[in-house]
């Protein structure tokens, strides 16, 4: 009897009791002008030069603001999701300024993590490349300053092409034919190292064919990956991951890094790589015998729209030093320090004039800046995209086609269904 009452009380308590925890509104309202400014930047394999530039910016900043110290923490890219989620849930452990990937922006903003930035008073802002600045916007509001941009182009082995008397492909459709020829005549080589998980290599194929991942209509997204144009792009890309070009057993599981790795190891005649892959390729067996051209579009002479990847610097919503944080963001993202970061890390600047300067001084960058100038595209700017990415919807779709588990029509239709579920949730 006694026990029953006890259980009953517990049960009633549980039903009446609270909902799951939520942390309160994160905007602090205070704006202190001194103290410690906390900054999160991404750790990198070869961090030394980056750290040196950042230190220079810090001493300049601390020289201008007495009583202010800047503490930088380098966080791992692979665990960034957990770190940022924790920071949003507990503003006390959060930084004031943070570097983050532009594809993460929409999710972070809807989680209430980053503050809106007013770039109007910042003189240099007008020189930012518009399509790159767009990657820092959600619903027309700016939440970050583009710090650097990354685009991909077609890497190819000059020695192999010369030996076989081939020219770099001039159209998107020629990529497959050229790659097939190479593998036919040199069976030990992969024609083009493409990956089943390499989303940013597949997207240009979809965009060049006139398709897109999703379309926006009045603030609402609907999947467009099952449109005829997108399907043509998916078919073109997955054609590359076949035994006569890039065998599925070796390529289906590869993402971007693994795809470039095969090229570095000298096992592939072509790959799709970024400007940021240059150093690692130069330190590999392909060094000195490779060239880069923009990924060609549907017609000869055109360029397939590339994905405008890159990182932003933003101010956290919960910061107690918003003015200082904004000033430091603008300093680190300024033309001066972007130039220094280019020299140190090879990061492509986000200002039109700085971009032109570095491209003029370095021929290697030409295919990349040409790609940037002919127009880049981006993934859907909605928090749902983070979910779609986490659930690996597009890679799964590509892999299903590559392994023959589904044909292009079914795989894209299923992916569209999953995406629409995410868009409407």
């Amino acid at each position: 009897m006694r026990l029953k009452t006890f259980v009953a009380v517990l049960g009633v308590g549980a039903v009446v009791a609270c909902a799951p925890v939520q942390s309160g509104p994160t905007s602090s309202g205070t704006d202190e002008k001194s103290g410690q400014l906390r900054v999160w930047l991404f750790d990198e394999v070869n961090r030394g030069p980056k750290e040196a530039v950042v230190k220079e910016a810090i001493s300049e900043f601390q020289g201008k603001h007495s009583g202010v110290t800047v503490d930088v923490q380098y966080i791992q890219v692979s665990s960034r999701a957990e770190r940022f989620k924790a920071a949003f849930s507990d503003p006390k452990s959060a930084p004031d300024v943070a570097e983050f990937g532009n594809t993460d922006l929409a999710g972070y903003v809807s989680a209430g993590g980053f503050a809106e930035l007013d770039l109007g008073s910042w003189g240099e802002a007008k020189d930012l490349v518009p399509s790159i600045l767009d990657t820092a916007k959600v619903d027309g509001k700016t939440y970050g300053v583009p710090w650097f941009v990354g685009v991909r182009a077609l890497y190819y082995r000059t020695d192999v092409f010369a030996e076989l008397g081939l020219k770099p492909p001039a159209t998107l459709d020629e990529i497959a034919t050229t790659a097939r020829q190479i593998r036919q005549r040199k069976p030990e080589l992969i024609g083009i190292s493409a990956g089943g998980k390499y989303l940013f290599a597949a997207l240009p194929f979809i965009w060049a064919n006139g398709g897109d991942i999703a379309k926006q209509d009045g603030g609402k997204f609907t999947a467009a990956i099952d449109s005829a144009e997108a399907r043509a792009g998916v078919a073109k890309y997955t054609e590359l991951i076949k035994d006569d070009i890039c065998p599925p057993a070796a390529c289906a599981g590869n993402g971007g890094d693994a795809s470039v790795e095969a090229f570095r190891a000298g096992k592939a005649a072509m790959t799709i790589g970024g400007d940021f892959n240059r150093k690692s390729v130069d330190a590999s067996s392909a060094a000195g015998k490779y060239g880069v051209v923009p990924l060609p579009g549907k017609t000869a002479g055109s360029v397939a729209p590339a994905f405008a990847g890159g990182n932003l610097l933003g101010v956290m919503k919960g910061t107690q030093r918003k003015t200082l944080a904004t000033e430091f963001t603008q300093l680190l993202a300024s033309k001066k320090y972007q130039q220094k970061m280019y020299a140190a890390m090879g990061n492509l600047p986000t200002f039109t004039d700085v971009q032109k300067q570095v491209a003029d001084s370095d021929k290697f960058l030409e295919p990349f800046t040409k790609t940037l100038q002919s127009g880049t595209k981006f993934v859907p700017v909605t928090p749902a995209w983070a979910k779609i990415e986490a659930q690996a919807v597009v890679p799964t779709m590509l892999q299903e086609v590559v392994t023959g588990a589904k044909n292009v029509d079914t795989a894209t239709a299923d992916a569209a269904k999953t995406m629409n579920a995410a868009f409407t949730s």
Binding site: A14, A19, P20, V21, Q22, S23, G24, P25, T26, A81, K85, F88, S89, G107, S110, A111, G112, G113, G196, P248, A249, A250, A252, G253, P383, A386, K387, A390, Q391, A392, T396, Q399, E400, V402, T403, A405, S425
Partner: protein, 294 residues
């Protein structure tokens, strides 16, 4: 002392244990169930959006998802293979250990303990190195360079199952070895005097005596292998090509936690807990029906 007083004393003695159990078990489960009834994502956690009570909405979504059922079936089959494999290998080596010389047994135990104490991530990575398509030792020995073990669905599952068995058989082996050693010598002697064959002794004398221990290691193995995460996540790179090597835990992580859908993730957690409790209860009842005193 009255019956009531006795009950009160008993309760007082049990209170500390109940308190610990309540804190460590009941409260998390209560939270898990609670969260599973809400639309609870990152926006809700950090206060960017209001909470929405869904009732059984998360469960409806989950149970209506075809992929969930596929993954569930895969998980059950995978766990079954791992449990049977672990028990067979563990039992075989335990028996072997009772028959060999001391130094051989010591070597066997040290090797097993090494496998047991290797962290799952390290163990999985080392196995991946061993079975690497181009540079792996195994492919070199077999002369099949270029063969990818992780590409095909079944070889990938087989490889992961082998790794899981490798790192969980030592527990079974050590426990069973201790059990065999604890069987009184007189019993075996009596069986021998009665003219029982070795097989007969094993089947009719040792096995019944070992049954409680086998029961414990089986339940443990079921629970462990049903919840495998690290090995699949590391060795098949997050669930294999096109997700065909997903098991329930990795699926929950990918669909729910990585995607910040904590409500859905909690629902998957509740379903797993209920399933495991169900399997354990079923197993215990089956044993009781076969006359085992528990």
């Amino acid at each position: 002392m009255t019956a009531k007083g006795q009950g009160r004393t008993a309760f007082a003695y049990l209170a500390p244990a109940l308190l610990v159990l309540g804190g460590l078990l009941a409260y998390p489960i209560y939270q898990l169930v609670l969260i599973s009834l809400y639309d609870y994502g990152q926006e809700q956690v950090s206060g960017g959006a209001p909470l929405e009570f869904l009732g059984l909405g998360n469960y409806r979504n989950l149970l209506g998802d075809r992929q969930f059922w596929g993954v569930l079936g895969q998980t059950v089959a995978f766990a079954a293979v791992c449990v049977v494999g672990t028990l067979l290998v563990g039992a075989f080596l335990a028996i072997l250990a009772t028959r060999v010389r001391t130094w051989v047994r010591m070597t066997l135990f040290l090797a097993a303990l090494g496998a047991w104490s290797t962290p799952a991530v390290a163990g999985s990575t080392i196995w991946l190195f061993l079975f690497d398509a181009n540079f792996g030792f195994v492919n070199e020995v077999l002369g099949i360079q270029g063969f990818s073990w992780t590409f095909d669905k079944w070889t990938a599952f087989g490889l992961v199952a082998a790794q899981v068995i490798w790192c969980s058989f030592p527990f079974v082996m050590v426990t069973l070895y201790a059990g065999i050693k604890a069987i009184p010598g007189e019993v075996l002697e009596a069986a021998a005097l009665d003219g029982a064959s070795a097989f007969r002794t094993a089947w009719s004398v040792m096995l019944p005596l070992l049954r409680p221990i086998i029961l414990v290691v089986t339940i443990q193995s079921i629970i462990w292998d049903f919840k495998v995460f690290t090995q699949i996540y590391v060795m098949t790179n997050g669930g294999g090509i096109a997700g065909r090597n997903l098991v329930l835990n990795v699926y929950a992580y990918q669909q729910a936690f990585a995607a910040s859908e904590y409500g859905l993730g909690a629902a998957i957690g509740v379903v797993m807990t209920v399933l495991l409790l169900g399997i354990t209860m079923f197993y215990l009842r089956a044993l009781r029906r076969s006359g085992e005193v528990l």
